[in-house]
């Protein structure tokens, strides 16, 4: 059973449509949701959690239809971290513990405080005095302290310094050591996704460009630096993205559509996404 199964998901807003999105997150895996601002990442996550209603398609989370009555019970097994902490800022971590004790049936007080200690967060300080990194750590402690099977993270690492980001990404990696645990995270920081994700979903202007295994994705494409003359000789159907500069042309090609005639440059996930977004 997949942790998340989305088929033909559609949502219309004024000026934006999330257009027949389908993908599945296998259990035990980390999936990255990437796309430009307004591509539909947060909308997709809101739809997965049924925080907004869908116009079409189906969503199953941990085997449960997210519009069914049973989904509220399934939410007990889902940890959520959004781009901010979203708790009233006068609360202290101790207050948050007391509130969550009556929110999640599986709330583990000892686990929460051990994470608070691990993150070196003060227990009795209002978190309006916390830095952004500290606030996000508090949100992550809340998400992890009720024995979740699925973590859903919306831009949880944005605005954090590299040290904190690395620490948090390690935590997510540890979380998926249990083969029943899965993570879906959206991020602008493609290097973070490259570091930890097994699968990448790329959304562009509300459309699904691809959902692929990360390693396979990097194997499927090649980046060539060519002269203008060399570029003219490449079959157009193989080209997925082009970047022109005064010295020549950088071109992203689909390997299976073209002979391997030019030396390939190093291709990062970020390059790939940028080429595809601009070439799309």
């Amino acid at each position: 059973m997949d942790a998340i199964e989305i088929k033909d998901l559609t949502k219309h807003f004024k000026g934006f449509t999330l257009d027949h999105i389908s993908f599945a997150l296998p259990r035990g895996c980390i999936m990255g949701l990437v796309g430009e601002n307004g591509a539909g990442k947060s909308t997709t996550l809101n739809l997965i959690m049924n925080a907004i209603s869908r116009d079409g398609g189906s969503i199953k989370v941990l085997g449960v239809d997210n519009e069914s009555r049973e989904f509220n019970a399934a939410k007990e097994k889902i940890g959520i971290v959004l781009d901010e902490a979203y708790f009233p800022e006068v609360l202290t971590p101790k207050n948050v513990n007391n509130i969550m004790k009556y929110t999640y049936q599986n709330w583990q007080e000892s686990e929460f405080f051990s994470l608070i200690d691990r993150f070196r967060l003060p227990q009795n300080k209002s978190f309006r005095d916390f830095s952004r990194g500290m606030k996000m750590k508090l949100a992550i402690a809340v998400a992890l302290a009720h024995q979740p099977e699925l973590l859903i993270l919306d831009e949880a690492t944005s605005g954090l310094d590299p040290m904190v980001r690395d620490e948090i990404l390690d935590l997510f990696n540890d979380f998926t050591r249990d083969e029943n645990h899965s993570v879906l995270l959206s991020s602008h920081i493609v290097s973070d996704l490259e570091k930890i994700c097994d699968y990448i979903v790329f959304l562009h202007q509300g459309k699904l460009m691809f959902c692929e295994e990360k390693d396979r994705l990097l194997e499927e494409y090649a980046l060539w630096k060519l002269t203008k003359e060399q570029f003219e000789d490449i079959p157009k159907e193989a080209i997925r993205g082009v970047k022109r500069n005064p010295f020549g042309v950088e071109v992203l090609v689909k390997k299976d559509a073209v002979a391997d005639v030019f030396p390939a440059e190093h291709l990062s996930l970020e390059d790939l996404i940028l080429f595809l977004a601009k070439g799309a």
């Binding site: 959690m49 925080a51 907004i52 209603s53 509220n72 019970a73 939410k75 007990e76 889902i78 959520i80 959004l82 901010e84 979203y86 708790f87 009233p88 800022e89 006068v90 609360l91 207050n95 007391n98 509130i99 969550m100 004790k101 009556y102 929110t103 999640y104 209002s126 859903i152």
Partner: protein
């Protein structure tokens, strides 16, 4: 539900210590000054402040993803209002009992009836306010409430002579009027809750 109530109580206690103290002091004052009625009505406004703090922290975005039902998210604000009104009323009764014991005077049971009328008015105000807050947000909701109050008062003034004549001619006792007030407060809250539910769901459609 307990988690939601606890969150609101923590927030109110930390942000409004002075105002809560004012409510307690007013509730303790002798009925002579009618300030205990003010304390009870003021207590009915506290859920609006709680909604304002939720708005400021965007709490609802997170809460809709947690295992809270939409009904419990909405009802927790009504429950908070009932608890606050109830607490102010109990403090007031306790203070009056102490006062009568100290002064040696008898506790007038009519005061309890008077208190219940004030509670009904406070609950009615809650039922008008909360749907507006859920529909328009706190800032616009407060403005709409003020406009609604002004329009209602103007309308009442325009028909007051007719109503007074009708009331003078009507032959119902105080107990019927009292029961009607209680029923009106209860029904207005029921209707208000379903309206708030609809508005809250509409926001996340």
């Amino acid at each position: 539900m307990r988690g939601l109530l606890l969150k609101d109580i923590y927030t109110l206690v930390k942000q409004l210590r002075l105002f809560l103290l004012v409510i307690v002091i007013f509730a303790c004052l002798p009925r002579l000054y009618s300030l205990s009625a003010f304390a009870i009505v003021y207590a009915s406004m506290l859920p609006i402040t709680a909604v304002a703090y939720d708005e400021r922290s965007k709490w609802n975005r997170l809460a809709t993803m947690m295992p809270y039902s939409v009904k419990s998210l909405v009802f927790s604000k009504y429950l908070l209002g009932y608890l606050m009104i109830g607490a102010a009323a109990l403090i007031s009764i306790a203070a009056q009992l102490v006062l009568t014991a100290v002064t040696g005077s008898a506790y007038d049971i009519a005061e309890v009836q008077e208190l219940i009328c004030v509670i009904c008015i406070a609950i009615f105000l809650l039922s008008v306010n909360l749907p507006l807050m859920f529909r328009f947000g706190v800032e616009k909701g407060r403005l709409t409430f003020i406009i609604l109050t002004v329009v209602t008062v103007m309308l009442l003034f325009s028909v007051k002579d007719t109503v007074l004549v009708w009331l003078a001619g009507a032959d119902f006792g105080a107990s019927v009027a009292f029961a009607a007030l209680v029923a009106f407060a209860a029904l207005s809250n029921l209707a208000s809750f379903y309206l708030s539910l609809k508005f809250h769901k509409g926001k996340f459609a």
